[in-house]
Amino acid sequence: MTETAVGTATGTPRLMEGSEAIAEAMVVAGCRFFAGYPMTPFTEILESMAEKLPPLGGVCMNAESELEAIGMAWGAAATGTRTATGSTGQGLALMQESLAELTLARIPMLVINMARSQADYFQATRGGHGDSRRIVLAPMDVSEAVELTQLGFHLADLYRNPVMVYGDYYIAHTYESVVVERRDFGPLPAKDWALDGSSGGTGAAKLLSPLGDYKQRDDVGYDLADYYARVEVELTAMETDFAPMAETGFVEDAEVVVVAFGTPGKFVRYCVTELRAEGAKVGFVRPISLYPFPTEVLREAVRTARAVAVYENSAGQMIDDVRLALLGTVPVEFIGGLTMDSSAFGVGPDLQVPIIKQRIVDACRSAGYELGEGF
C-alpha cells in the first residue's frame, strides 16, 4: 500500500521510471491525445505516450514545436477527448500564450511541466497574459505524481480549465515501486460543449472561442468585456470550490517552520523528521497545490513559530507566496538557492540532507531559537 496526497493505492506495485508511471497514469485516466516536443527532462513522457497511445486508438503527436504541441492539444480537447501536453522551462514559456488563452476558451487539458529546477514556479502559477489562472499540483515523488496526474484530469474537466502538474528531474528519472490504477474522483459535468460537427445546420451551431460564445444571430456579437467578466466568475468559483492541498508535520509546537514543495519538499520532510528526533522543535509545510496556494494551512501551521524558512531550488520564487500568505506576521527567511548539475538539466549539489539540515539549524539560530548541544 502506498500513502499519497489523495489516498491509498491498493493494487500490485510495479517498478517504473517516473516518466513512464506518469504516462501510464494518464492512460488509465482516459487520456487519448497527447502532443509534445522533446526536451529534457520531459522527453521520456513523450516517448512513453508515443508507445502507449496508438495501440489504444489514441493519438500521440510529435509536434514541430511547443507552440504546435499545445495547439494540437487545444484542437483535440475541443472534441471532448481527454488531452494532455507538456514541456519544461523554455518550452513551457513558448506554450504560455495558448495556456493563458485556454482559460478564456474554457478548454480543459492537463499540462505536465517536468521542470529542470524549481525556477518554473512563477511561470507555472502566474504565466501568461490576461487574467487566466490554473490549478498547479506539485507531487513530491513518483507515487504522488501518479495520483495527482489523475486528479489533474478530473479537476480540468470539473472546472473546464487547464490544470498543471509540476514535476521535476528527480520525478522524471527516479525508479519507484508504484501502483497505477484508475481513480474515481466523483461525477463530472457532461461535456455538452464538445464539438463533433453535429450541431451544424441546426440553427444553434456550437462555438468554442476565447472571444466568447455569443452569436451574431442572437443580436449580440462579440462583447469581450462582458465575456471576460463571465470567465472571471467561473475562475472565482473554481478558487472557492477547490480546497488548497498541503502536507504539514510537527507544526503544533514548532519554533521554526520550513516550507518546501516537490522533490525538495520530500527532502525537507526527511530533514525535519530527523531534527525532531534529535530534539529540535521544527516543523514543515509542503504545499501540494502551488495554485491556489495553501494560505490558510500555512497561517495555521506557523501559530507557534518565531520564523519561517523557505527552501527552494531556485533563487526564490514561492517565497513570495509564503510572504503574501503571512503578511509580515512571522519573519520569512530564504534558505534555498539556485542549484543544478553542470548541464543545467538535473539536480544540484544543494539538494542533500546534511546541507539542508545545516541550513535549517542556521535558520533556527538566526531566529533566536537556541538549540541544545550537538546541533
Binding site: 504546435e68 494540437m72 477527448t81 488563452e101 463533433d196 444553434a204 468554442l208 472561442s209 452569436k215 444571430r217
Partner: protein, 277 residues
C-alpha cells in the same frame, strides 16, 4: 437626397422616408446573419460565403468544423451555423490537426489571413502540409494586415504602399514576398493546392470549384488540401472601393496568378479538377 461637394449623398441622420423592403434573402444556408461588419468592398465575405455554400451543397454541414485565425474575417466566427473553434493568431493549422486526429469523422477547415498564416504562423501551415494532415486550409490573402489598418505582411507585393512601407515595399529594406501556395505545392504531403480570387464573377465561380475540389480531396483522405483566395481590401490598400478589384489584378494578382498548382487525387466523380483554371 442631400448634396455635398456636388455629390449626392444618403442622409443617414434619420430613418428613410420609404422603409427598405426585403425583396429576397440571399444569405447562404450556413451563414446566420447576412449583414456583416466588414468594410464595403471587402473580399472576405465573398470568400466565406462560397466556402459555406460548398459545405451546404456537399451536405457536410453536420460534420464540419471550422478553425478560425485572427483577422477581420474573425467577425464570421460567431456568424456561422457550423461548429467553430477560435484559435490564436497563426495557430489554426495545429488546432485543426488536433481536432481532426482526435475525431477523424470531422471535415475540418481553417480560415486564416496572410498575416495570420504567412507571417505569424508560417511553420504551422508548412508542417501541417508536410505531414499530409487531412484538413483544408483556406487563406484569405489581401497582402496587408487589414485589421490593424493596412500594414505590410509577408505577401505584400513589391511596390505596394502600406502604412509601414509608405514609399512602397522594396526588396532592399523589406525583402521579398512569400508565395505561399507555390511553396506548399512543393510539399509531398499536399494533395491539392490552388489559388483563386474573388475580384470578379468569373474568379468567384472558379474559386468555388477549387473549394469544392479541396473538400472532396479531404474526404478521400490522401493528404493536405489548400486554397488561397485573393481578396480585396480597399480600406487597407487606400484605394476607392470600386477600384479595388482592378487593383488586386495589378498587385497581388500579378505575383500570385490564380490556378491549380497541385492535384494528386485520382480523378473523382467531379472531373472539374483539370478545368478549374
Amino acid at each position: 437626397m442631400l448634396e455635398f461637394e456636388n455629390r449626392r449623398i444618403v442622409d443617414t441622420s434619420r430613418p428613410p422616408e420609404v422603409p427598405v423592403k426585403l425583396v429576397d434573402d440571399f444569405t447562404p444556408e450556413l451563414i446566420d446573419v447576412g449583414a456583416h461588419h466588414l468594410c464595403p468592398g471587402c473580399g472576405e465575405p465573398i470568400a466565406m460565403r462560397l466556402v459555406m455554400e460548398v459545405l451546404a451543397e456537399q451536405e457536410l454541414k453536420n460534420r464540419a468544423l471550422a478553425v478560425f485565425g485572427i483577422g477581420c474575417y474573425t467577425a464570421f466566427s460567431n456568424n456561422l451555423d457550423c461548429e467553430v473553434v477560435q484559435a490564436l493568431h497563426g495557430r489554426a493549422p495545429s488546432v485543426a490537426t488536433g481536432a481532426k486526429r482526435a475525431d477523424p469523422n470531422l471535415v475540418t477547415f481553417t480560415v486564416q489571413g496572410d498575416g495570420d498564416m504567412v507571417n505569424e504562423g508560417l511553420q504551422e501551415v508548412l508542417h501541417a502540409a508536410a505531414r499530409g494532415e487531412q484538413i483544408t486550409c483556406v487563406l484569405l490573402n489581401n497582402g496587408v494586415f487589414g485589421e490593424t489598418g493596412g500594414h505590410m505582411t509577408a505577401t505584400t507585393t513589391i511596390g505596394q504602399r502600406t502604412k509601414n512601407t509608405l514609399e512602397g515595399r522594396n526588396t532592399d529594406d523589406h525583402g521579398h514576398p512569400i508565395r505561399i501556395a507555390s511553396l506548399i505545392a512543393e510539399l509531398e504531403g499536399a494533395a491539392f493546392v490552388a489559388r483563386g480570387a474573388v475580384n470578379n464573377a468569373g474568379n468567384v465561380a472558379r474559386t468555388k470549384r477549387m473549394v469544392e475540389r479541396a473538400i472532396e480531396v479531404q474526404l478521400l483522405g490522401i493528404g493536405f488540401t489548400f486554397v488561397e483566395i485573393l481578396t480585396m481590401c480597399p480600406t487597407g490598400w487606400f484605394v476607392e472601393t470600386e477600384e479595388a478589384p482592378a487593383y488586386l489584378d495589378d498587385t497581388i494578382g500579378v505575383a500570385n496568378s490564380p490556378g491549380v498548382l497541385r492535384d494528386i487525387a485520382p480523378d473523382s466523380q467531379s472531373s472539374s479538377s483539370t478545368t478549374i483554371s
